[in-house]
Symmetry: C2
Subunit: 336 residues, 2 copies
């Protein structure tokens, strides 16, 4: 295992410590809980607070999306494990300005349980909490059973939209409804080319045979829908796009926001090779890309592969996606 | 080889095409040469133009540093190969506004030759060109022979400083002198944990035995100064820092800009583990980190490992590093 760590038990603490040092212009550590990272504006102003959280090993997710007009507070879990209910609760407390808190998170059993528990405890303290659960991962369950679908990189676009809506001064119900609309308009699909290894385990979490790829694989190696021969990049791009378009209602004349993320070890140039095909193929169908994010946005340690996320835009979603925002993981500049 | 490409011969063209599509708010392709990427402000205004270039496979370098108050024009080479003199010439032509062009590039034989040739051709066309050659890679030659040292991720800080100086309206001589001062104040060191594979070769470019690491390795796998057992991250951080500090004149009370880049496949959380130690160790010596960049800034396909770059700051360098700038690879926001 060619990796850089000290005691495997300390990786998350050391990651958070290094992260907060490196990005202190954007974030700070909670005084109350060392597994909660806050934006400098967290808990201030007259707006709904935005909270998320999830397992570590997906950097820049989740901590990398704490920032200005982005997430206010993140609860940090162990590698590939949910944060505790206590960490979610502290994130909610920190983010509340009296207007309530929207917890926008991904559909995993541990996160569901701990967010639910934290929300109940927060309610007892008089903090109003609403949740939106991301379930953008098309291959994780059929559309008819969308409640079982996992959340993957589409969460980033949900955070972007939810935080922008909160910045407009919208009430909690509106922020929740808009974040829900954002994730409802979003589909993702992942492909895996090589597995990842948790340092404490010292052997791969799952297997992908050389010369093959796994379509529909999850962020933690959850099984996909098919294992096929590894194909040329254009065929891979087409396959990913087909899965998304077959599940979505994008039509000619529509505009989309596209996020293509590497899973950790796939060279960045290859992401651009994929993206080139994806934008051209969308164009062939009359679908314009209003804004694209290409890079390592939501990784799984040193897994090889990529996730494609497509959000169908309407006027409001476009405006919220375009609102300037700053974080270490994602920056949107002011126009012009 | 678990990788995403079509015909290996097309990777660079497809990377550039996808890159320009994804980041069209920041960059455009030259009409005159498909291997030249330009900022939107390239060739406009009354300022010195900033040009660089280098081989592909190091994304976001080099194209990712084209942007606002950053590089104006980049010449793009094949994977791990110098751009042609023709591409450098076209980049120089595009970047010239009449105030001359500073070509800030890395010390590699092919780049030296092609930049020299392009500069001569540009001079014949009446364009004044000055060059600064980055040689920040400590382990590539002894200090007494600094002219043989390679340029690595320190180039990014040189571009940042040179472009900021140009934005102040400084003359070509001043931009050249300041970029030179920037790279003179900068040292880098790389460590390799696993090699990378050029798609056309289909086998690793070099070897690093499991359980070992190579200290001082170059961006293309150029041999380092030692192969040792792979150590805990803190020891690796200490070793990298020692190499830099032994070669540098940083003293207690100094401030530094630190850039820690992954080489491609090292998980991002591990970069923060390393960074945490590095900033603490600098602090122990009374050296403050004014600004840090941690992430995949200058990669080598799917190589595992990292490079550490430290620039000693003075008042002017600090101001130039802090000047707002925007590119897909690096963004500095306006203060406050």
């Amino acid at each position: 295992m060619q990796r850089l760590f000290n005691n495997p038990d300390d990786i998350v603490d050391e990651t958070v410590a290094g992260f907060v040092r490196a990005h202190r212009d954007l974030v700070r550590l909670s005084d109350a809980n060392p597994r909660v990272v806050l934006s400098h504006a967290c808990g201030t102003g007259d707006r709904v607070g935005i909270v998320t959280g999830g397992g570590s090993g997906h950097e820049p997710a989740f901590v990398g999306y704490v920032g200005e007009t982005l997430v206010d507070a993140v609860a940090v879990g162990e590698l590939f494990s949910s944060p505790t209910a206590k960490a979610f609760l502290e994130a909610i407390r920190a983010a509340d300005t009296g207007k309530g808190v929207a917890v926008l998170y991904g559909n995993y059993a541990g996160d569901n349980m701990n967010v639910k528990m934290a929300s109940r405890m927060a309610a007892k303290e008089g903090i109003e909490v609403r949740t939106v659960v991301a379930n953008d991962d098309v291959c994780s369950a059929p559309m008819a059973d969308r409640g079982r679908r996992r959340g993957v990189a589409g969460e980033i676009l949900m955070w972007k939209v939810g935080a922008a809506k909160a910045a407009t001064g919208a009430a909690l119900d509106e922020v929740q409804a808009t974040a829900q609309r954002a994730i409802d308009a979003t589909r993702s699909v992942g492909i895996g080319l090589a597995p990842c290894t948790l340092p404490a385990n010292a052997k791969p979490n799952f297997e992908i045979a050389p010369g093959t790829m796994e379509i529909g694989i999850g962020h933690h190696g959850e099984p996909g829908t098919a294992v096929t021969d590894l194909k040329p990049a254009n065929d891979v791009a087409d396959e990913m796009l087909k899965i998304i378009l077959d599940d979505h209602d994008l039509a000619s004349g529509d505009e989309a926001c596209v996020l293509l993320s590497g899973l950790g070890a796939t060279p960045i140039c290859e992401l651009y090779v994929l993206y080139d095909r994806i934008e051209r193929e969308l164009g062939e169908r009359g679908i314009g890309v209003h804004r694209a994010f290409v890079g390592n946005y939501f990784t799984s340690l040193e897994m090889m592969g990529a996730t494609l996320t497509v959000m169908k835009l309407d006027d409001e979603l476009k405006e919220l996606i375009d609102m300037p925002a700053a974080s270490s993981g994602l920056t949107v500049r002011s126009a012009g």
